[in-house]
């Protein structure tokens, strides 16, 4: 797994993808920080964090589009799948590399917190809660993206499809509000990425939200393993 993780992580930076992701992420985060904290003269970072969800929906597909698509297209997956490693290790190694690049992006919010700290005292607990929320949300999105990437050998299809799925996941609470049947609406609400993530940005530290994102990550990684497994059998 470490071999796959290392190769994958390095390849983000031998290709432009890693740089593009980080640059756009830093720009967008910086823009929202300037707009919602500095301009408003507030120490609150909540708005920055809630805006970053939209940035993720656009950027995570770029980060994950090639994970399996490219390997399939170039037939390099043959090398991974015939090596003495389990499918789980392959999938997890790739996920972890994408996650680490993403985490490098998220760390910029710590810089914002320090900037705020230089002027006044930020609510550190809230800041760390927000960062944790952002990391968990990104982790779930990355795992969805990795899964979609395993479905196609076309990177563009992979990116567009991931984007569409993430938008739908984002819209779950909106969908819930137009469904008249309470039971079904309830299901959508409880699966809503937006509601659960906003929980973090409001400063509520709910274990069920943490478990939700961890479970989504695990579930989609598991689905990815199944897709790879199924492909061998078809």
């Amino acid at each position: 797994m470490t071999a796959i993780f290392r190769r994958e992580f390095i390849s983000y930076f031998t290709s432009p993808i890693g740089y593009v992701f980080l640059a756009i992420f830093y720009c967008a985060a910086g823009f929202f920080f300037t707009l919602s904290s500095i301009q408003q003269g507030t120490t609150e970072l909540n708005t920055v964090f809630s805006m970053l969800m939209y940035v993720l929906i656009v950027l995570v597909p770029i980060l994950t589009m090639r994970t399996f698509s490219e390997e399939k297209k170039n037939k390099t997956e043959q090398c991974l799948l015939t090596a003495p490693v389990t499918l789980g290790a392959i999938v997890f190694g790739k996920y972890l590399a994408a996650f680490l690049v993403y985490a490098m992006g998220v760390l910029i919010t710590l810089v914002f917190a320090f900037i705020v700290a230089a002027i006044s005292t930020p609510d550190w607990l809230l800041v760390f809660g927000n960062i944790l929320g952002l990391i968990l949300l990104g982790s779930a999105f990355i795992s969805v993206g990795v899964f979609v990437s395993s479905l196609t050998e076309n990177q563009v299809v992979s990116a567009v499809l991931s984007f569409a799925i993430m938008v739908i996941l984002y819209l779950f609470s909106a969908i819930a509000s137009i469904i008249p049947i309470d039971f079904i609406a309830g299901i959508f609400t409880s699966l809503s990425f937006l509601d659960r993530y906003n929980g973090f940005t409001y400063g509520s530290f709910d274990l069920s939200n943490i478990l939700f994102f961890v479970s989504v990550t695990a579930a989609f990684l598991f689905f990815t393993v199944r897709v790879l497994e199924r492909r061998r059998w078809s």
């Binding site: 470490t2 071999a3 796959i4 290392r6 190769r7 390095i10 390849s11 031998t14 290709s15 170039n74 037939k75 390099t76 997956e77 043959q78 090398c79 991974l80 799948l81 015939t82 090596a83 003495p84 490693v85 389990t86 492909r231 061998r232 059998w233 078809s234």
Partner: protein, 318 residues
């Protein structure tokens, strides 16, 4: 050691591999011969665990590839049809990655250096794979298979894309490797398989049509009972005379030129009419300008092995 029993793979309705069985012992080079689409690559992909079989089993060094995949894969080095190279890595980075991927325990630098020397890629060691020529890419692919010194080597058309001198080099290398590895190599070139392999399995449309040692197979398939001759003499009379030789089944006049006529002679399977032909022609003062056993192309072999004309392979199966 590789043991394959009743292996089948169906893609929908298509039977890509249909109940094949064979065995390759330690220190043996097994040639897998067949036309394109015969099921060679599919079989190799099953053996290496890249795809799974529909039925049957493949056992590598005592480990079933489906039941015990990680252990079985650890003893395989695989060079697929298209070498699985990461184009944006250098040869050095790539081989080190493979070394880590296979969880090798040998001293890293000497092991990789040995392999590079063996397949002659030292001079491109620090170059990006994307920029290498096809021959070099193929050799990097072979190097990749050799990392970790696995017991079993599975090579899918290893000489494709190489120039003639490289082909000879690689064949010599495979022969050398065959002394202490089990090697399965696929090809659609008969002479290549004959030159390198101890044992040949001929496969067509997913089925094994012949499984024998290289010598047996080549002697039974060499077409010694089909001769092509050029004789300087009156075509009609020459033909009549040849027909009287014992063992001759048929004679056909292929071409009549000013200075010679060309014939194809088919004889009984166990008859060798070459000496008799010579003395008869000499007796009449007609000159044999050329005499050769007609080479069977792979297509001919498949026709012979599959289209009813079942030849008996000495000591082997049909």
């Amino acid at each position: 050691m590789i043991e394959v029993r009743n292996l089948s793979k169906h893609f929908g309705d298509k039977k890509a591999v249909d109940g094949i069985s064979f065995k390759a012992n330690d220190g043996e080079i097994l040639g897998f011969l067949g036309p394109n689409g015969a099921g060679k690559s599919t079989t190799m992909n099953i053996l290496t665990g890249y795809i799974s079989s529909t039925a049957g089993e493949a056992v590598i060094d005592g480990n079933d590839i489906l039941k015990n995949p990680v252990k079985a894969k650890a003893s395989i080095g695989y060079l697929p049809e298209q070498p699985p190279l990461y184009m944006d890595m250098t040869v050095k980075e790539y081989l080190n990655f493979i070394y880590d991927l296979k969880k090798c325990t040998m001293p890293r630098n000497t092991h990789i250096a040995d392999i590079c020397r063996l397949v002659k890629i030292e001079d491109v060691y620090k170059r990006v794979i994307k920029n290498l020529s096809k021959g070099y890419k193929q050799r990097v692919g072979l190097a990749q298979a050799l990392v970790g010194n696995p017991n079993v080597l599975i090579l899918d058309e290893p000489t494709v894309g190489l120039d003639p001198s490289q082909i000879i080099e690689i064949r010599t290398l495979i022969k050398k490797l065959g002394r202490n590895h089990t090697v399965i190599l696929s090809s659609h070139i008969l002479s290549e398989v004959q030159a390198v392999c101890d044992k040949i399995v001929v496969i067509n449309q997913g089925k094994i049509v012949a499984d024998d040692t290289a010598e047996h197979l080549s002697s039974s398939l060499s077409g010694e009972h089909k001769l092509s001759v050029k004789i300087d003499g009156p075509a009609k009379e020459v033909m009549e005379l040849i027909e009287t030789i014992q063992g001759v089944k048929s004679v056909t006049l292929v071409a009549e030129r000013e200075s010679y006529s060309e014939f194809t002679i088919e004889s009984e399977e166990d008859a060798d009419i070459r000496r008799e032909l010579f003395s008869r022609m000499a007796g009449r003062n007609w000159y044999i300008i050329e005499l050769k056993t007609s080479e069977l192309s792979l297509e001919d072999i498949f026709l012979r092995l599959t289209m009813g004309e079942k030849i008996k392979l000495k000591g082997g199966k049909e």
